[in-house]
């Protein structure tokens, strides 16, 4: 048990070092900036034009649907992951349920294709 905890302790130390380094670098950048500002310098970059409107406009809904699809499929991948340990001890009848689950995933994917949700043209 203590060996496992030691591993996580090392990882935590590494994480703290990485976070401290990242924070330090950005903080140095902020501290070193002169603070000499004028409107053109602070405006959003739009290829030399004066920025018009707000940048937080609506974007294509397909980005959103893709993200939702990702959530569904990633949960299913997460459910499949125990298979790597399970497969060795699984009985043939257990295997049928695994097969059924993957078939279900396949049907879902086929349905998404059928509905043209995945088509970006």
């Amino acid at each position: 048990m203590s060996i496992i905890l030691a591993e996580y302790k090392m990882m935590l130390i590494f994480a703290v070092i990485a976070l401290a380094l990242a924070l330090a670098l950005v903080s140095i950048a902020v501290i070193l900036s002169t603070g000499e500002v004028y409107p053109e310098k602070l405006s959003a970059y739009e290829c030399g034009f004066n920025p018009f409107g707000d940048a937080r406009q609506e974007f294509d809904v397909r980005f959103y649907t893709t993200a939702i699809l990702f959530v569904i499929f990633d949960v299913e991948v997460a459910l499949l992951l125990p298979l790597s340990d399970f497969l060795r001890i699984a009985l043939p009848c257990d295997f049928i349920s695994v097969f059924g689950f993957i078939t279900l995933l396949f049907i879902a994917l086929w349905y998404e294709m059928y509905c043209d949700t995945l088509n970006w043209e």
Binding site: E7, Y8, M10, M11, I13, F14, A15, I17, A18, L19, L21, A22, L25, V26, I28, A29, V30, L32, S33, T34, V37, K41, L42, S43, A44, Y45, E46, C47, P51, D54, A55, R56, Q57, F59, F63, T66, A67, L69, F70, D74, V77, A78, L80, L81, L83, S84, D85, L87, R88, P92, F95, V98, F99, I102, F106, L109, M113, L118, N119, W120
Partner: protein
């Protein structure tokens, strides 16, 4: 205390490796295009990354007028932190990693998918149209290939019956996984190209339309952090590839130290990354999404039950 110093040394080494990867990229791109690449600063341009870093240090960091200051400040930190965190489970020598935990590959997958946060927050908080578009594209792209990536990893987990990277390497003693899983290895390579936003899938920073994508408003060291994060995740993904498919630290012949073998294999993959950038034109966005969702995912999903049945019957 000793371990802390060693880890700081490790971080420094990997930062230097990352910096020199940018030089290697410029040199190789130069060689492909029949020019010399950087060669003025130092011998053969060897001091170029240091000069670049120093230049960025003396640039000014500005908060754009309409930016969300806190998120704008924190998103390069998140990006850099997460890309360094992937290194924690990578084996550097046989059965030696900083955190040699049981589910190390899973940890790596989780951390690399968290990388989306840094990019989305950077794009959204800088309140610029280019940045927002780049961030949204990057998020959708990384997320799409995440699914196939996870499923391909599942094949390896089943074959090695472990999720620990060191054990996966040891499972390849008789044969490297690239031989039985050759098509999967190619798909994995393409997926990591898309995950790290490299050409031919660098739509998030398609410079002809979006200038620089999500990091367009960033300057100075904050920009450098995004840059370093991108290249360091390139290296860590290459190490992951060589551990999963090329036997990682396993030597092919001779008595070279095994860490050298891992480094050599990783450098080959990185060379392939850069060569891909030099040769292939950029994909269209609909093609990119089509490959991820309509080609990779059905293939992997179809192959998985067949593979499971094969393993089960051969046991």
């Amino acid at each position: 205390m000793k371990s802390v110093i060693l880890q700081i040394f490790f971080v420094l080494c990997l930062l230097i490796a990352t910096a020199y990867l940018t030089l290697a990229e410029r040199k190789i791109l130069g060689a492909v295009q029949l020019r010399r690449g950087p060669q003025v600063v130092g011998i053969f341009g060897l001091l170029q990354p240091l000069a670049d870093g120093l230049k960025l240090l003396f640039k000014e960091f500005i908060f754009p007028r309409n930016a969300n200051k806190f998120l704008f400040f924190i998103s390069p930190v998140i990006s850099f932190f997460l890309s360094l965190l992937t290194w924690v489970v990578l084996p550097v020598a046989p059965s030696i990693a900083i955190g040699d935990i049981k589910y190390s590959t899973l940890f790596l997958l989780a951390v690399s998918s968290l990388n989306v946060y840094g990019i989305v927050l950077a794009g959204w908080s800088s309140n610029s149209k280019y940045a927002l578009l780049g961030a949204v594209r990057a998020a959708a792209q990384m997320v799409s290939y995440e699914v196939s990536l996870g499923l391909i990893l599942l094949f390896i987990f089943i074959a090695a019956s472990s999720m620990n990277l060191c054990e996966i390497i040891n499972a390849q003693k008789s044969v490297w996984f690239i031989i039985p899983f050759f098509p999967l290895a190619i798909m994995f390579f393409i997926a990591i190209l898309a995950e790290t936003n490299r050409t031919p899938f660098d739509l998030p920073e398609a410079e002809a339309e979006l200038v620089a994508g999500y990091n367009v408003e960033y300057s100075a060291l904050a920009f450098a952090l995004f840059f370093l994060a991108e290249y360091s995740s390139m290296i860590s993904m290459s190490i992951l590839f060589s551990c999963l498919f090329l036997g990682g630290t396993l030597p092919l012949f001779g008595s070279l130290p095994s860490a050298m073998w891992l480094a050599g294999k990783t450098i080959c993959i990185l060379f392939l990354f850069i060569l891909t950038r030099a040769t292939l034109p950029r994909y269209r966005y609909d093609q990119l999404m089509q490959i991820g969702w309509q080609i990779f995912l059905p293939i992997v999903l179809f192959a998985l039950p067949i593979f499971c049945a094969f393993i089960k019957l051969s046991l």
